[in-house]
Subunit: 334 residues, 2 copies
């Protein structure tokens, strides 16, 4: 009942094999992983996208998800927002000695569920165990490979003056779900993380591939930081309209209580798309039909003046410059 | 002078960008990484190998290498031993708050050196910072992509009775270098880690691709564990001759002092190749011409009886069954 991960589970020897065969492999089972060679081998032809992310979120389990779901969705989303169809993932676990085996099983179960939902398989992996006190329970790294359909040219460098900026739904939910849990806040309405895989949404959007210039998921640093990155990369400026920004009431209240600005709070199931103005409404309608894009809205537009700048036009018409996050708002949010 | 990594360097905001631009990116600089999108995109056609490894070695710096060199070599080697030409790597850092910036710079410098030597580029990455006490200084994950030339079919499942087993050089050096340092052993001759990239060696061996059935690098768990894995995968048995096993005198003495069996000690710059007997000498000669294979020897042969078993034939002719490592010999050796 109270089985824990031991240091010897990380030896590379028999106990490592037992841990993998007993607890890790069953949730991932697929012929490529079953091969158990040092690398997975598969045929691939075309433009390939490759990305990586480590996840160090605290706590491991939170309303709306856990570190396993987050690790799979995070890497799938990084592939999805460059226009790739995610194909294969790697999964590398760094486990602190003493982690309850049940926790590991729960994380693996949740990895299995997202993998099944998205059809993206874990084909290679690694497991390390470090002594008690040398890590905090569990860190996960995922890397991912996807295939970019020919003709797709999406990059943070391609925003053009006149483009519209679409956001796929309300912001701040992931960060607030974590912070509220850490702070022990009792909220009338519990905030759940928006953690979700966005590959079906982006796949449908690619019907309009020619008109999609940039896509990115506003994770650490929030919407404000991600917009700043893209404005700098593309050497344009963005104007965002405060009255169009979707933020749930519960997030607004929790932000007030905690003194946080939702523009800087992490999201894990949202994307920003910067698109040709003529096709913006078509793309928006397409997005709203996908379960992960029902609340999509056009939040702003791209301008040529003051390259690199992001401004928020408030409800009263004033302009507020929105900078990149400086300092640390929410450590270990992903 | 005493700059340290701060928690806010992991925020995803301005300080993260500064850390990446100032300390991490300069060592890796290449056009694909410069793009700074969520994923690197490149053209690739054919059979692709994909692998991942996390590195949690303690201490970060050791005779013969450091965690940076190890992280790049480790993933390059996992690609090399399935017969792939390593092309691209991801690099994900989990940094403990307070890590001296100088240590990070030293690790990045060493990553740059192996990357330059091997021509394998880091094209995508991630940086996380966790609070003091939640990790031990620095953990690194690398994932890698390589291209398997057509006709190459190397796998742990393909050993055949009659095949010869080649080892590319003396064993036990990596593990002993680390253990001697941790234990503060004063050795007459310092043992250096064998940490090295094996992709040039395997590339040259592939002239005999048809005759190479299995390759693997005997890392955690050592030669004994790796041989056991392959014997089980291929459902054959291996006979290893003790008098042919290359082990340096300094390693033998240190093993005696520490009570370790060199067969179970980790290597980071060696490979085992299981090859068609007729071509074994040709392959051996080829290997000995490469700087990382000069001490290659045929250490044993593949037999049909007792599938899954590995036996060591001692100098006196006795047979000793060699099992997989059980328990933990050397925690955090890689």
């Amino acid at each position: 009942m109270d089985k824990k991960v031991l240091l010897s589970h990380g030896s590379g020897g028999k106990l490592t094999h037992d841990l993998i065969a007993g607890t890790i492999y069953p949730s991932l089972a697929n012929p490529m992983l079953a091969q158990m060679d040092d690398a997975a081998v598969f045929e691939i032809n075309g433009k390939v996208a490759f990305t990586t992310d480590s996840f160090v979120i605290h706590p491991l389990f939170f309303p709306g998800g856990d570190i396993g779901k987050l690790a799979i969705c995070g890497t799938i989303n990084d592939l999805a927002v460059v226009g790739a169809k995610p194909l294969y993932l790697s999964l590398a676990l760094i486990i602190e000695e003493g982690l309850p085996m049940q926790d590991l099983e729960r994380v693996m179960e949740s990895i299995k569920n997202v993998s099944n939902e998205t059809g993206v398989q874990v084909v290679t992996g690694d497991t390390k165990v470090v002594n008690h006190g040398s890590a905090d329970k569990l860190f996960i790294n995922t890397a991912g490979i996807g295939l970019v359909p020919s003709g797709v040219q999406i990059s943070g460098t391609k925003a053009c003056p006149g483009d519209k900026i679409i956001l796929s739904g309300p912001i701040g939910e992931h960060g607030l779900a974590i912070m509220a849990q850490r702070a022990g806040l009792r909220l009338k309405i519990q905030i759940e993380s928006d953690c979700a895989p966005l590959n079906s949404l982006t796949a449908e959007m690619l019907e309009y591939a020619d008109s999609i210039h940039c896509m990115r998921d506003p994770t650490r640093g929030g919407l404000a930081t991600t917009l700043n990155e893209m404005a700098k990369q593309s050497q344009v400026s963005f104007r965002i309209f405060e009255d169009r920004l979707p933020i749930k009431e519960a997030v607004v209240s929790a932000c007030e209580m905690l003194g946080l600005d939702p523009l800087y709070v992490a999201n894990e199931g949202k994307l920003i798309a910067i698109v040709n103005a003529e096709k913006a409404d078509d793309i928006l309608n397409k997005m709203r039909k996908n379960p992960y894009g029902t609340e999509s809205v056009i939040i702003g537009e791209v301008e040529a003046e003051n390259p690199g700048r992001v401004v928020l036009q408030t409800r009263l018409g004033a302009l507020r410059i929105i900078n990149m996050l400086s300092g640390e708002l929410l450590p270990r949010i992903c």
